[in-house]
Amino acid sequence: MSWSQIWAIARRDLNGRFRGLRLLFICLFLGVATLATIGSLTSSITSEISERGQEILGGDIEIALSQRAATEQERAAFAEVGTVSETNRMRAMARRVADGPDPSRVLVELKGVDAVYPHYGDLTFAGGGTLDTPLDAQSVLVAPALLERLQMKVGDTVQFGTAQFTITAEILEEPDRIGEGFTLGPVALVSLEGLERTGLVQPGSLYETKYRIKTSAGANPAELAEALEAQFPVAGWEVKDREEGAPGTTRFIERLGQFLGLVGLTALIVAGIGVGNGVSSYLSGKRSSIATFKVLGAETGDIARIYLLQLAAVAALAIITGLILGAMMPPLIIAALGDVLPVQPGISIHPVPLLTAALYGILIAIIFALPPLAQARYVPAAGLFRDMVERNARIDRLTLILVSIAFGAIVTLAMVTAREPWFSAGFLGASLGVLFLLALLGGAIRWIASRLPRPRQPLVRLAVAGLHRPGAQTGALVVALGLGLTLFVILAAIQTSLTGEITRSVPERAPSLFAIDIPVDQEKQLRASIAEIDPDAEVATVPTMRGSITGYGDIRVADLEELPEGAWMLRGDRALTYSANVPEGSELVEGQWWPLLYNGPPQVSIDAEMAQILGLEIGDTLTVSFLGREITATITSLRQINWQSLGFNYLMVFSPNTLRDAPHNLAASVSLSDAGNVEQEQQASNAILGLFPSATVIAVSEVIGEVRTLLDQMATAITAAAAITILSGLAVLIGAIAASRQARTYDSVILKTLGATRRQILLVQAMEYGLLALLLAAVALALGYAASWYVMTQIFQFSFEPDWTIVLMTLGGGALLTLVVGLVGALPVLSAKPAQALRHL
């Protein structure tokens, strides 16, 4: 028979019975739409970042230096490569200059720019217009948030350090905003001369100068950057080219995208169970049609082709609809999320993620729909004469081979498209492991239920029988229910653990304020002024400077093709300090601390975890570039840092003689006796800034607010992804209940004819589902515990202390919900009229 004739029959047979394949459609649609959305969103963000690379970086090459400007030689070398634009960025306090006594101050990112800035893109103003003439030394451009916090407007005067500026415009968009990385306060833009006027740029103060080079067209920025670095090997620059304008952001987005993508893939695999269930109950509803086709002379091949075409048509429809939704969602999400995203990509179609999602959809459909199809074609023609109790469970070799190939393709695809293939493989493996475990459990429950002694009570007996009778959906129910409940546990555990993380990371006597850029010789004044406000306040100071690691052991960082796993400390510059004693909040775990008045060759104590990541041991050397020169120190001890202490935690602490004579300032932490006293906090802040106009004060409560927002966003992303998986699980659950409806209707009708009330029938169902829910709640607790522990401690490196009351309540709620869903699904069964049903059965 030709395919067109097969199609004609398939179409007619499907006619009006699309309902039977609803589950196939919904499950595939949900899964593909999720994957397509996540993939498209990630792609549009990262491609936007990479397309706008020059703008984000502010040039074709960027060279960043810590706490110093470039030397004459360096500048000359930059100028040889192309046009140079210089910026200088630091944290500073903006102070409102107004009549009256209220000296409001806000932490800002103060950025001095030269006349060339910006090389690429436009700095736009809120009122319209762009920065096209260089700023003069008296003007400042500010972000809207600053105006809001200081309650100022354009035209007002604001003070930074010792200089006053007139606000000439409100910034709408700063082209190189993402390239600047993490910021604490709103931005304020002045000219380099203006920055000079503030008096904030002093030897030892914490600032970063950046030289953005615009190369000639056709030049290769990566090669030029490399050549520059080779020319100044010990300068301690951080060099980027336009290909990696915002490497941190891109990395974060890609990683988040990968994680969400894997969750989406898990949702698709769960949906696959629904696909398998839907197809198999659809085809078992078609047994009589299949047998009839055979009576009329159809061969098994014809049957396979008829139903293959039907399934393929519905699957294709589901996948295409899913892709359309997936392509349409990112602009909506981008609009909804607004400023949370680093860039606001326009509407664009990204074929690769869509293609990947479609491929996953097809593979999942093959894996889960092919086996029931392969079995269905063996429905014998004689099936019309008697009910076949012994169902044909054989699956032919070809089907097995196709399913195995599809499975292999999914794993390969997941690994090939991932940034971290082994993480993906591990995640997939764990998900499949959980599913396999649940499937095994489903089998075990059936087996045990069938071998239990028959309960005396007929209703209990029926409930137990419902778990193992032929055609029982126990397997699918266990997987769907178990997975749903496990996810409830995971979500609750992660959410409460994250919330607890914030509370826990603020120790009982946490510092209220941090101040940076306090002159070394004025520590006494600082302590005295704080003591005036709160005699019981604790003030701790620590010398602070910034430097970057340029070498460790025998390795030059510049020579590394790729950073070792987890070696974030090699990226950019890090805070350095020196100390005569082991700093508070650290514990010496290996080696010896230097003697009190040590005056020998440079020594350094480093974080034990950092040592492990870099493979360093006591006696190895560490080289840092600091103010343009390199210092090589011997590692003499390792410390365990308690990051949660919120104190001064430095990866690298040097022996005092190494750094003491270099220009530097102090950082101070102030712990007020009455934590949470905002007024006192404000007083202390004002006192510090009154004494040291060039200092910057950061209120811990503000930082915690930022961190809380970040953690909240993370929790939202996890919840959103998990919700999709739960949705798939729910679809599977409803599908499983629907699939067993016919058998249940039969039971319920027979029971009714024998005199059972509807209450009794409902009770049987409640007992059956209740039994399952109870068992699975226990399993979910164990699985969910393990999974959330892994996510919290191994992926996010947080501590794992969930609130068990909430977790158990969530689990109980979830179990109750499934029970209700199950019983609501049973209602149509209850209302079946015996006479009517018996006629149709």
Binding site: M1, S2, Q5, A8, I9, R12, D13, L14, N15, G16, R17, S288, S289, A291, T292, F293, K294, V295, L296, G297, A298, E299, T300, G301, D302, Y378, P380, A381, A382, L384, F385, E390
Partner: protein, 251 residues
């Protein structure tokens, strides 16, 4: 399988033969002997009733004779071709155009219209003029006005007529009817039987009716009575009662 080309031949051409056929069903530790050695031959153009009470094995015998089921032992020959050892697909092919089957429960495809139901066997046999032939068959059973109706929109009698049209549309050599009136009331049932015998009169085909109804059996030229998995009585061809000779005005 070749279709009989000589529809007017009156020679006692055997179209259906069973030789010592047995059928045992069930699992190994609890086998149930359904048929216990059936020997039977039916010639072209006969009308045969297989009569017996429930459980006598008559439906199983039909399943075997139509190739819907394989015998445990013995041989079945349909139009000269042994079918006992054919695989399922071979049997399906063998049925096309050779055997038409009408079932007690109609077994129309619920998702297809009357017309589409009748078209299916022709489509499976890759025939031509499919629509015309299907419409013709439906008109012959008096359903020319119900072509576009779905089974659910048809009465039981109409459904069975669609089933008859579907069984005869391929002009099979042998037409089987398994309790064709079992699901119908008396009047509708006799209408259906009239259609079957009318059809039989106008074609060279063999008609085999499986029934427990003696009065229906009496209308056939030959009655084979079954009991406990065996043939207990075979009247042979009763010339006096037999319907007029087949093929006189074949379609």
């Amino acid at each position: 399988m070749a279709r009989s080309s000589d529809q007017t031949s009156h020679a006692a051409e055997i179209v259906l033969e069973a030789r010592n056929v047995t059928l045992t069903l069930g699992v190994a530790d609890a086998p149930v002997e359904i048929l216990k050695g059936i020997d039977l031959s039916i010639t072209k153009g006969e009308s045969v009733a297989i009569l017996g009470p429930s459980g006598s094995g008559k439906s199983s015998m039909m399943a075997l004779l139509t190739g819907l089921e394989k015998p445990t032992s013995g041989e079945i020959v349909v139009s000269g071709t042994p079918i006992a050892n054919m695989d399922e697909d071979g049997l399906a092919r063998a049925r096309r155009g050779t055997i038409g089957i009408i079932l007690q429960a109609f077994h129309l495809l619920p998702t297809m219209t009357a017309m589409e139901n009748v078209m299916v066997p022709l489509e499976l046999d890759s025939g031509d003029a499919i629509r015309d032939r299907a419409q013709d068959a439906l008109e012959k059973v008096g359903l020319g006005h119900r072509l576009g109706h779905y089974p659910a929109q048809l009465s039981g009698g109409e459904q069975q007529r669609v089933a008859i049209a579907r069984a005869i549309v391929g002009q099979p050599d042998i037409l089987f009817a398994d309790e064709p009136t079992g699901n119908l009331d008396g009047e509708t049932g006799s209408e259906i039987i009239d259609i079957l015998f009318e059809r039989h009169r106008h074609s060279a085909a063999t008609l085999v009716i499986i029934t427990h109804d003696r009065s229906l059996a009496e209308r056939c030229g030959r009655i084979i009575t079954m009991g406990d998995g065996r043939i207990v009585e075979d009247t042979g061809i009763r010339e006096d009662i037999a319907e007029p000779a087949a093929g006189q005005d074949a379609a």
